[in-house]
Amino acid sequence: MKEEPRIVAFLCNWCSYAGADLAGMSRITYPPSVRPIRVMCSGRVDPGFILKALEMGADGVLVSGCHPGDCHYVDGNLKAEKRVENTKKLLGILGLEPERLRLEWISASEGTKFAQVIKDFTEQLRKIGPNPLKTKTASRIPANVDELIAETVKETNIRYCLECGKCSSSCPVAKLREGYSPRRMVEKFLLGFRDKVLSSDELWTCLTCYQCSERCPSDVKYPEFIRTCRTLANGGVLEEVCAHRGVPQALSRMMTNPKLKQNRMNWLPDNAEIAERGDLLYFVGCLPYFDVIFENLGLESMKIAQSVVKILNRAGIKPVIMPNEKCCGHDLLWTGDIEKFEELAKINVADIKETGATRVVLACPEGYRTFKKDYTEVIGNMDFEVLHISELLSELIQKGKLKFDGKLAKKVVYHDPCRLGRHMGVYDPPRSVISSIPGVELVEMGRNRENAECCGVNAWLACGKCSKEIQLDRLMEAKNTGADLLVTTCPKCQIHWQCVMTEKVPNETEKVGMEVRDLTVLVAEALNLK
């Protein structure tokens, strides 16, 4: 190897950093591959740092802290251990060698150990090879800013704004966040106060839920306008405003690298029948990653994918599942990273073409919208039909391919996800699927269909007090219908609600417990699929 492997090392102040110093004082030599970053405690290291380092080209990342029991801050090192374990799992799925990430306990007196660890690690990395990732660090603000602005202004109709204020008073965020007004953002942008808009906090608080656009008499597409503003703001490189330390976005970006071959099929049930080429392709999405990132929520995201495969098999379909399926890019698009999004779009469409699939079904409304609407704008005609799982299930039930034997005596309330409902106009198929399950009573919330309240977070942005209030409000509304289950067709909605129900939300007066289930899991249950 020509180049020396580069290791970014996070060393805790009390132990590991001191140990490294000792190695220096003792004149113990080791390869010049490590770049130390001092932190007070190894518990300070979050997965976002690790992924950032790897994304930007570090060949290896070392996290080192005190021996268990010795942590200056009680058990920060144990937390670091858990996080590193988790991140390794993510790397494993991603297809980046988990060995590139290493956790060590090095005490202040272990100068020799430090040197040895570096020697070993460097050798190991030489063997593994250089990091295929080396995303450019410069911000991805596109070169053709004026063109982009002109196009956006035209397509989003912002010029037709009548300044009536319907948008602001429909916005779930505006009701809770003083001073937030979509109308004022548009007006400021039009009048030339562009910088104010691009540097504002409000740029990132929009949930892109489409409630404003739905009611706007001038058909202003505010979410798409915000999206472009986000691109203009800084090309989408923005960990500060992303929840979960920008990890999901980082993973999405890393997937664009052709050298990474993911390991994302372990969730498949043993008796599952899938194919590599075929007519119908099931696009799984980010579920394998969510399973790891949100382990603490007890979500079992993979149950969704498993249910889909089981149901399709029952209906006599062997879906194509791509073993190296990339993220659809939704979260990158909505945080403004158009460049990376377009890369993902091209890769995915090319990969799907290889499989010969003429129909692509997604169990995620975000993926659904991204494929059906946003990909079409980038790619053009895609040669395959895009369906949401509810549309496909509805079709299969109508054709008699799926028959429910027993009864499922549950009262179910259905939530319209923003991307499926207001964005794409799909309101009835999920309802018809639920209604066709014998024994199930379907009830509606007052705010349903085009008036459904968003689950409070979009693309992991600006998750905060406001989001939590919105989520609790919605869960309360669901609970008040008296339903047993809150059924949705969006894994993200599920994550957000589960999160607010699990965490201790400040100033919470009552806990809202509502059982949330994905439509596919419900259907699988009803079909008695194990």
Binding site: N157, Y160, L162, E163, C164, G165, K166, C167, S168, S169, S170, C171, A174, K175, E178, G179, Y180, S181, R183, R184, C212, R215, C216, P217, S218, D219, G446, R449, E450, N451
Partner: protein
């Protein structure tokens, strides 16, 4: 060429009546065809009119009576146009007189039949807030004051025939097809209301205290279903706060119609003033986007409404209405655009001002007449600036709201205009047997 001195007027509202009276007063024969059982149109449904606050029926009734009694006007109510052929100066029109099953010569308008009729149906005149019988007159000052049997809802129990002292009920009445020969046609079919259920965020149909303006107008009319008492439809209580929402379905590229309905800012102000007159303790808020004050006396009217009557104008269009289930009050969410704050108003009643739209039947009528409709469904003017009253067919003219959004004085002036054009084009058409087209 046959010389005819007759004109057909389609639509018996204020525009149709004005055009008819102008033509009849100068000695021309007018056939006034009206679809419903009585002339009067929308003005009959109004309580007062802006900006003068005249009692609508008081200024309308003399016109109705004049129209009804004028020797030169043949009133064909409960009738429809079936076919039109010919050209300016010589149109042949086939009119279908629908059977009322009541003999107009004998009916005295006493109303005993309605008293005994067992069928109650929602009263369209009262915007379905009240009921009428299957045998009915649309409103007490109807002209002609002849009862009509609503065939679709009649049980055929024949009770009315038994109790009628004048022997006016005629169950065997058949539809009559009349053929008329006229020199010109004036179309004045008026307007309909946008279906506000399409704007689901306002909850019309879901929340009983969300009303549309014409319903509210009927409620506050002394001759309306509540005798002029303004109450909440949900529980009959007297309201403390009433909110008007303008532009529901107007000025919309999506989910409505793109034009401004031009009368709503003013009629909402009128209704607001009436509320304040009726009940000074009730607060009234009008949520608007741009106040349309372009007409004569409009700005003064709004100033009076604000200064003298304390009507509050809020520069905002609300995003949504929710209901406080405990009190039944409606929560109106809006952005106070002058203060940059999201606020809500707890109102007892919300009155939605819907877009005023061309009647859906215009399509059928346009086809029969051979005239064009514009992209909204209004009758198309030959030239919107230079020939607003002419249609694309010489000899056929338009007046009133069916030509485009306008208020009553403009409709009346335009109706006189249409009669002027009708007379002019007929005069030109009969010169030397050569048909002259209308002046460019």
């Amino acid at each position: 060429m046959k010389k005819t001195n007759s004109v057909l007027v389609i639509g018996g509202g204020i525009a149709g009546m004005q055009a008819s009276l102008d033509l009849a007063s100068r000695g021309m024969r007018v056939y006034l065809v009206e679809k419903t059982p009585s002339i009067g149109g929308r003005m009959a449904q109004l309580d007062k009119t802006f900006p003068t606050m005249d009692c609508s029926m008081c200024i309308l009734a003399p016109k109705m009576v004049d129209t009804f009694r004028h020797p030169n006007i043949t009133l064909l109510t409960y009738s429809e146009i079936m076919e039109v052929s010919g050209s300016v100066g010589n149109f042949t029109v086939k009119v279908l007189k629908k059977p009322r099953f009541v003999n107009p010569e004998k009916c005295t308008g006493c109303g005993i039949c309605a008293q005994h009729c067992p069928v109650e149906v929602p009263n369209e005149f009262d915007m379905n807030l009240g009921v009428r019988k299957a045998i009915y007159v649309p409103f007490p000052q109807a002209a002609p004051l002849v009862y009509t049997i609503d065939e679709d809802n009649c049980l055929k129990c024949e009770l009315c025939g038994k109790v009628c002292l004048a022997g006016a009920i005629d169950y065997d009445q058949k539809p009559e097809l009349l053929t008329l020969n006229v020199g010109a046609i004036v179309v004045a079919t008026g307007y309909d209301l946008f279906d506000v259920r399409k704007r689901t965020e306002y909850g019309y149909g879901k929340y009983p205290n969300v009303m549309i303006s014409l319903e509210f107008e009927r409620m506050e009319s002394a001759s309306g279903p509540t005798g002029g008492h303004i109450v909440r439809l949900s529980d009959g209580r007297v309201p403390e706060k009433i909110a008007f929402i303008q532009c529901v379905g107007s000025r919309s590229i999506k989910g409505g119609l793109p034009y401004c309905s031009s009368a709503c800012c003013m009629y909402a102000t009128k209704e607001a003033v009436l509320i304040r007159e009726h009940n000074p303790k009730c607060e009234v808020y009008i949520f608007y986007n741009d106040l349309k004050v372009f007409g004569k006396g409009f700005q003064d009217f709004i100033n009076r409404a604000e200064d003298t009557w304390g009507v509050k104008y809020v520069r905002a269009l609300p995003g949504e209405i929710t209901e406080d289930s405990k009190t039944g009050k409606l929560i109106v969410w809006y952005e106070d655009t002058t203060e940059n704050a999201i606020k809500n108003l707890k109102a007892d009643i919300v009155v939605l001002c819907p877009a005023l739209i061309p009647k859906p039947d215009n399509k059928k009528l346009a086809k029969i007449l051979g005239v064009e409709l514009d992209q909204h469904g209004f009758f198309k003017s030959k030239d919107p600036m230079l020939a607003p009253i002419d249609t694309t067919v010489p000899g056929i003219f338009i007046a009133g709201y069916c030509q485009g959004p306008k208020d009553i004085p403009e409709s009346v002036a335009q109706a006189s205009g249409a009669s002027g054009r009708a007379a002019e084009s007929m005069a030109l058409a009969t010169v030397k047997g050569v048909r002259r087209t209308a002046r460019k």
